[in-house]
Amino acid sequence: MADQREQYTNPKYYQNRELSWLQFDRRCLSEARNKDNPLFERLKFLSITASNLDEFFMVRIASLQDMVNAGYKKRDIAGMTAKEQLDAIIEDTHNFMQSQYWTYNHQLLPGLRENGLDVVESYKKLTPEEKSFVDEYFINEVFPVLTPMAVDNSRPFPLVSNKSLNICALLTRQEGTGQGIPGYLQKPKKPAKESKETRALKAARNAGELRAVLDEVKEAKAAKEEAKAAKEAAKAAREKDPNAPKPAKEAKEGKDGKEGKGGKNKEAKTGKDNKEKDLFQYATVQVPAVLPRILELPESENRRVIFLEEIIRHHLDSLFLNYDVVCAYPYRVTRNADLTIDEDDASDLLKEIEKQLKKRQRGYAIRLEVEHGMDPRLLDFLKKEFSVSQEKIFEIEGPLDLTFLMKLYGLDGFEWLREDRYARPQEIPRLPAGCNIFEQIRGGDIFMHHPYQTFQPVVNFVAQAAEDPQVLAIKQTLYRVSGNSPIIAALAKAAENGKQVTVLVELKARFDEENNIVWARMLEHAGCHVIYGLAGLKTHSKITLVVRREDDGIRRYVHLATGNYNDTTAKIYTDIGLMTCRDDIGEDATSAFNMLSGYSEPRYWNRLALAPLWLKDRFLYLIDRERDHVLRGEKGLIRAKMNSLCDPDIMSALYEASAAGVRIELIVRGICCLKVGIPGVSENIRVRSIVGNFLEHSRIFYFENAGRPEVYAASADWMPRNLDRRVEILFPIEDKEIAKKVIHILDVEMADTVKAHILKPDGSYERVDRRGKDLIDSQRVFCDEAVKEAQEAERPRGERVFVPAEPAAEE
């Protein structure tokens, strides 16, 4: 059987995952270009594509770069080496970013203007009133927080932090001023007009100077360390692969040592360099992140905004007294941020992550974005300073870092440009406000579909448990929690009320570590038993267990979900959740927490399947079972919805099942390495992706099982990282009515004609051909259904108010 599967592992049957991911970002971009969407929503989509891409650079491209640097030769599932992937992706991202800016410049900007919002690109285009407003703003708000840095022999290029926006300037010395010292460090020769304002300015500047000097000292140290680390890394890489070329600098030094002449040449060259440097001086200043990126100008006919970097650029000469600013351009650098921690060496994970976070600022540069038309001298200078190769430089026609569009989206007003066709989260009929959740759960399993239905009951579940005198213990996994999370507050409260609270805080949630450490500490202070998961495995499962002592014994209430315990994202991500007090699931929940606390695997599982030990086998079993059913002449059908599909074992099993005749319908939002329509391999597989108003996030799995269908939900995608390196939970949907609802979700999404994109055999995605079909936007359908359901539930409850109250029975 294994041999049979082998034939489905041919690289030509697979798509590279990074290229597939870029396809996904293209689908997001297509929503930004989709005229059916309100204009402001399109801004949001474009912003999302940009922040997605940032992360993609910091993590995926960076790790490919690491592989290339380390001389890693292994090919991916699609048969590409790291180098090949990197080349293909860099090329693709150049095209992609061009599309992003084309959309911004040619679709969104004109659209905004038509709707009465001007994005002013240059200070020069401001009216005189606006100019004085902006000048005032600069002096009062911006100037005090700026830290200009000059670069020369004694002052190395400062550390520019990841994703920050900066302005680089080329300066020349004004005649008759001190040599090589930037103006801001000099005492003015003649007293300037001593207005109050300038005195204040000076004071602020002095503070700034002090900071700058201190920072420089610190950073010089950091740079040294970094250089040392880099050298060691290079050495390590060389030891692994003796054929790798030596770093240029060392090679050169070696050469210089041998040939006496080399030294002279070098001196001569340096001399020339110095001359040029005498003429020009480089400086850089960070656009402060503490200030809003866009400034709204005083009301005129149209509402108008201007970029912070444009304001700074215009006032740059006030930072460099005695110097002329020849030119100045914004730039932005994206660094390697893939967080890898050796947990075996890290005795205290918490401390280790704090350390890594500091290091993250100093990852090497993976992308340099500069404004189109940047002075070649400046560009050369930056290229050298960040040691990036040409293909990693992106010249941008427009404002750098499009995530500012989210800020634009946040402007008040413009209601007619926002989405209002999607209803707000609705009340869940089984869980009306003020109900006793435990009582409701005892009445039968409760299903929740977010964000169509409110997430509040999940918060209430923990909050009620915290106050309920019968509750003994609460256990919960927390992966990404929102700021000011009410769940965290409830957990802390529970601990204060003497409940035994065990919280698994996953510190390794990408880009969220800082947040998580704060929560972890806070919960510990409140008296919670905080655990940090298992070494080497991210805890991605979402599960809450409440142990309650009732008259007839201990009863366990469990909440299982596909989405995080984050009340903010629960308004944007589509997820499903289940509340139950079934004994078998309760037992499994207890076992799961025992395992997460570091105890041995339980003697058995009743209903749940956990990654990394059992989940993949479970999925493979379920897929193979469909295949076997078909081979026995039954009908075979697999339907699965997830965020990404790239696990090789699962995909080859799917191919085998498809080849046997199992119909396979997949709803994969993001990466999909599987190809459709390969003759004899994947002709029975259909893949669609839904990119809509909400982020599709639930994972649902349906297996026909020869007429005895089984429905599951999980926290895991079909990705190696989910199945092999994370703690994930698959839970069955056993209640018949709930199973119907879950199957209905799949039905409607399969019928979506508005937000669905269909994967074609050539690997591209196309929108659904709507000819002869109804317009079905699955997300809107779910909204409407949730509204209807809530309204229907409302009615009988209203009537019940009139039922006369009976005197309380004697107990």
């Binding site: 142990v547 002592r549 007839d552 058995y604």
Partner: protein, 524 residues
Amino acid sequence: MANLFGAIDVGSHEMELKVFELSKKNGIRQIDDVIHLIDLGSDTYNDGKISVVHVAEIKRILLDFKRIMDGYGVTNCQAYATSAFRDMENATVVLRQIEQETGIHVEILANSEQRFLDYKSIASKGEEFNRVIQKGTMIVDVGGGSIQISLFAKDRLVLTQNMLLGILRLNELLGRIGAGSHKTRELVEEMVNSQLHVFERLYLQNMKIKNVIVVDDYISEVVRKNKVSFQTRMTDTLEKTKQNGEFISVRDFRHFMAAMERYNRTELAQRLGIEDDNVPLLRISAIMMRCIADRVNAELFWFPCVTLCDGIVYEFAEKRRYLKAPHDFEQDILACARQIGRRYRSSEERANTIARIALKIFDSTRKFHGMSAREKLLLEIASTLYDCGKYISMTNFSECSYNIIKSTEIIGISKIEQEIVACVVRFNHERYSYQKLIAEQSPLGEEQCMTIARLTAILRVANALDRSHRQKFDDLQIRIQDRKMFILVETGEDISLEKGLFSQRADFFEEVFGIRPVIKQKKG
């Protein structure tokens, strides 16, 4: 309201906590099961002491167990340590330390007590257990160093025997011989068969065995995992074991073994979802089970997949009367004692008479001795075995009885209790001496010596009343009045022999209880 109970087992390779909920209505319900792997066994092998590192680990885990128990509002907790601790030199010191720091008192179980709890754990399976033992049943309790084979006939435990065929021991032996894996089968079969042969000849005789109940760590793990877990990639044959759950016919078991032979160690570990290191042990275990089943022509295996903790809670539930119809283990202990008596050809009839009289005296004088049901059980065992030494020597039989009882395993009683029974039998005939007891029997404390004295006094009187071995005192009544115990015998027979020899026994009884036994005959 239900009672919550924590059972802790500090074993030689793992520590386990099970939390149970006990109620009259629902009996025993398991709430939580926490397992922590810890290799205490190798400490024993290395230098006979528990290492400092392990002591610290035990404390840490026990503290966490305590936290977990608190989380459920556990009110009672029983912790036992087994073989690893039993053989440790520094066990007492360590346990004292542990108790001081964790507040958990850990008791060390004797082999027979541990085995007894294992039976209780099987009994905790309730109806299934009762159903299985209706037919001739053998329990094979497989440990690392030895195995314990026990026989059930008509739902009574009748015999138990320890054999040095523990899995780790066999594995080590095979390693020393340097046998390749293909030789494993032959060698294991040979070793097992030679011992089984003796067992069969001496103990099994004509008993028919239909069922074999297996308590082990390896096959049970496979059965358990493949029954309910999601380990599903198995061959069809292996699949079958899954279908039938914990019960496997001997025929299917043979298929299972044949299937096992087709895979190498790594493949097997993967397919069965067990540790690679455990595969050789699984093989040995399986070969041994097949040998046993073949030898006795058994038809069905049962793997109840229980642990010591299940036995611990069963014991507690029994004591607190949470069980509706518990299996009567005292009867098993007595059945075992009777079986020993039979082996040494004691007169069963006589033993029964003496026991009946002794128990009657015990019950009537409760106010004076204050002993519990447990001591009563010991008295009954002692009465049953009161003259087993005669099998060896008619003259020196008290010494011989003592030695027989001391070296025979009586399931369900502790080492100390065994010592008590042996002494009671011995002093039934020998002069009782406190000094001698204290001097010779260092493990016995003052309290135990008192128990011996009390039980001896009762047994002696009972024995004296049946001096002629003709069961003249079938029907007797006891009345206590004015510090005298009147033994009213309704018999037409001549009891002058008994009366004549009685006074010496009566002296000792009076010395111990402060009341004097007096025989009164009422001719019927």
